[in-house]
């Protein structure tokens, strides 16, 4: 076979050294020249420690603190947390709390510049079994900066006491579905919404019946099936079982799984990446079809524009959520935001389908779709 590439292959001349000059960090001071900032070195040490932590947690799961703080060490002045101690504490985290990157930056600046003062309200909290319940950001900052800090410690708190920290935080639907029990009233509204959503789809999902009150990590396809399929209506007598693509399509539709998580999950479900788009778009079409049948008792034509999908999905979701009347701006389940999020997520995935089917008008993004804009203005 004749190969035309031979003449192109080979080593080039060296590139000019001035082009390849890296941007060196001039100093560890920030722009004002007054404060020490996080350097690249610290950032990379932190990345390596986090990779170690992730590997440990994947292998062993959350482990209670072995060298549990004794009563003698719990003094008014607090205890010293070094990076190694912080790693040990972080291995014991089993509470699924939101991680805020901005806190990491802010606390790191405070710690690096020697302004960290342990106060009487923000203590490091451990529960009765020796698992860390609060102060995750602080521990991450100690590892990032490498600077030991003094913290005050509260031991032997109950789950309810620790959970009051989440009272003003928005809960994620994934948290709720993974069996996370919230004591805070605002978070419970969100759970109620998600439960109602699933309950209206079929049998109610027994969230209280989940074994552990903490985050449940789904590792296999079977676990996922056990969790989600009981909540779905029966398809038909001929085809009672759901295919993998259909289950994932359901998760996409109710907004539990995003694209990133999906890509992480695909190997677990033995789905090949190459077939992902085809199978999912097919499944989404089918799901839309039978969900529509379920609601209105008639079939849906799949050669519609994205705007029609929006309208139909909204109608469907409104029918589902008609029993729920959340207060606007409460948390997470704000009516309009929640709907928009769901529809956006659905459409984000459904666009694959639109490209594959014969649609005369397929806008590049659904935000540019004039019909959708008009509908929002109404």
């Amino acid at each position: 076979m004749k190969n035309n590439n031979d003449k192109n292959a080979g080593w080039s001349e060296p590139v000019d050294a001035s082009i390849a000059e890296p941007q060196n960090e001039a100093s560890c001071k920030d722009r004002t020249g007054r404060f020490v900032r996080v350097t690249e070195e610290m950032r990379h040490n932190y990345l390596e420690r986090m990779a170690e932590l992730a590997a440990f947690r994947k292998q062993h799961g959350p482990q209670p603190v072995a060298r549990f703080i004794s009563a003698e060490k719990k003094s008014k002045s607090g205890i010293v947390v070094t990076p190694d101690v912080a790693m040990e504490y972080l291995r014991s985290v089993r509470y699924n709390r939101l991680f805020i990157k901005k806190n990491l930056q802010d606390y790191s600046m405070i710690i690096l510049n020697g302004q960290w003062i342990p106060n009487h309200t923000d203590s490091t909290k451990f529960d009765t079994e020796g698992y860390l319940g609060d102060a995750n950001h602080r521990m991450h900052c100690v590892i990032l900066t490498g600077v030991p800090i003094i913290v005050r410690v509260d031991l032997g708190l109950s789950h309810a006491e620790i959970e009051t920290l989440n009272s003003r935080k928005a809960a994620r639907s994934a948290q709720a579905l993974s069996g996370y029990q919230f004591e805070a009233p605002l978070a419970n509204e969100t759970i109620h919404g998600v439960k109602t959503l699933l309950a209206t789809l079929g049998q109610p999902l027994d969230i209280e019946g989940v074994d552990t009150p903490y985050k449940r990590i789904i590792n296999t396809y079977k676990e996922l099936i056990d969790l989600i399929v009981p909540a779905l209506p029966k398809k038909s007598n001929e085809m009672p079982n759901y295919s993998k693509g259909e289950v994932i399509a359901v998760l996409l539709m109710i907004g539990i799984v995003n694209r990133k998580t999906l890509v992480e999950w695909l190997p677990k479900f033995n789905l090949h990446l190459r077939y992902k788009t085809c199978e999912l778009s097919e499944s989404l079409s089918r799901m839309l079809g039978w969900l529509d049948k379920y609601v209105e008792g008639r079939a849906v034509e799949m050669d519609r524009s994205p705007t029609d999908y929006v309208i139909r999905c909204k109608a469907f979701l409104k029918a589902i959520l008609s029993g729920v009347k959340p207060k606007n701006g409460a948390n997470g389940l704000d009516d309009q935001n929640f709907m928009d999020t769901l529809v956006y997520k659905l459409l984000h995935e459904a666009q694959i389908d639109v490209q594959l089917s014969d649609v005369d008008r397929a806008p590049t993004t659904w935000r540019n779709d004039p019909n959708y804009v008009r509908e929002r203005k109404k």
Partner: protein, 210 residues
């Protein structure tokens, strides 16, 4: 053909480069050859590895004398790992991110790489970020060679990216600056070759060049 071009490039950028820079014919027995697995190229019947596949090439050339112990390949796709494992069961195939996997193996004191072949399927804008991060971590192991491979032209990329563009992508990363401060060096030459669907470019870095 892609495989033939690819194997020629591998010969020049990995095998010959290592021999030229280190003066050794193969990597020492206590060190490892780390690579991104991908799907190795097969013979037509899909039962045996092609001689152009990476595993067959580096072992038959004598660069990796003990593949059972020294050849370590990472990939995030379990299917590819399973297929590779079936045809080359003696090597170590790990379904893991390469950075996370290397950090884990280092924490368990199980790895000491001599060559890391970051054969990415990314454009330099993204690929250099991962490569710089890896280089900073790999400065723990000396002497070591790091080979970074990027796509410089493919479908939907209007024109091929130049060699200068690759080094500009590196130079704007603080992590690359840190890597150079830790002793990494390069001769700033780029090996370019064409495959069936894309043009690739390879850069070689050295730490403690002998």
């Amino acid at each position: 053909m892609l495989t033939r071009e690819k194997s020629r490039a591998r010969q020049a950028t990995v095998i010959d480069a290592y021999r030229q820079h280190s003066g050794l014919r193969s990597i020492p027995h206590n060190r490892h050859y780390v690579t991104l697995a991908g799907l190795q190229s097969f013979e037509d019947d899909r039962e045996a590895l092609s001689p152009h596949s990476e595993y067959a090439q580096v072992t038959s050339a004598g660069l990796v004398p003990l593949p059972k112990r020294q050849y370590v390949a990472f990939d995030t796709q379990a299917e590819l790992i399973a297929v590779n494992k079936r045809v080359a069961p003696t090597a170590t195939w790990l379904c893991e991110d390469i950075y996370a996997g290397l950090v884990r193996l280092h924490a368990e004191k199980k790895i000491n790489p001599a060559i890391v072949f970051y054969d990415s399927m990314r454009l330099p804008q993204l690929g250099t970020v991962e490569a710089s991060k890896l280089m900073v971590f790999l400065s723990k192991f000396r002497p070591i060679m790091f080979v970074a491979n990027f796509i410089v032209h493919r479908q939907f990329v209007p024109s091929p990216l130049s060699n200068e563009e690759i080094f500009r992508s590196f130079a704007r990363l603080p992590a690359y600056g840190l890597a150079l401060r830790r002793g990494w060096s390069t001769d700033r030459r780029v090996y370019r070759y064409k495959g069936d669907h894309a043009t690739m470019a390879t850069v070689v870095f050295w730490l403690d060049r002998q």
